[in-house]
Amino acid sequence: MKLYEISKEPIDIQAVIDKVIQREAGAITTFIGTVREFTKGKKTLFLIYEAYEAMAVKKLEQIGREIEERWEGCKVAITHRVGRLDITDVAVVIAVSTPHRADAYEANRYAIERIKEIVPIWKKEHWEDGEEWMGNQLETVAYPSGKPEAGDLDE
């Protein structure tokens, strides 16, 4: 069973949840990231997600290790979809189980924020009047050293 996956097919949400079931858990949190139709008033038609797959899986595994170090007794599974996604489609599912609920919420939030920092996956927005790879056009993110700094988590 692979805990961290990139999937070209629609994600089976329950299958991701099932991977983190453990007798020690008192809580499972599930984050489901979906494709939003309107962003700042602009209508999205559909998205294309692309991944550097081998590295993306490694980075998801790294996030899992970071979580297991921070939250005791934690179990994590993440699947991210690639390819064409329509409005309301599921792009990512993160399941986290922990002995106590507070940790399950916190650890799950940590996972999605880290995905947005270090996992090599890109989305291309398609609008009625054009298309653009996201993540670059605002120029709000710069990496002076050429790679992300440890621990920057401020989104």
Partner: protein, 77 residues
């Protein structure tokens, strides 16, 4: 030889998924600057680099056979 992979807007500009070229002995910064000049790549100061699927600093030296990938700011999730 080195496989140099491009993603997202960089792939659109270069027009190839990857290039095979000799980059051994060069730092990431040097290779980045050369390719930026040759292909007129935009916003390379925001682009990260991976060597063999792990993030690498601009001063890291590329070795023979290394797989280099340029990673624009990511937008998964």
């Amino acid at each position: 030889m080195n496989k140099v992979i491009f993603f997202a807007h960089l792939r659109d500009v270069v027009g190839e998924e990857f290039l095979s070229l000799e980059a051994a002995g060069k730092t990431v910064a040097v290779l980045k600057a050369e390719l930026a000049a040759k292909y007129d790549l935009p916003r390379m100061d925001t682009v990260m680099t991976a060597i063999n699927e792990e993030f690498a600093s601009n001063d890291e030296v590329i070795r023979e056979g290394d797989e280099v990938a340029f990673i624009p700011p990511v937008s998964g999730g």
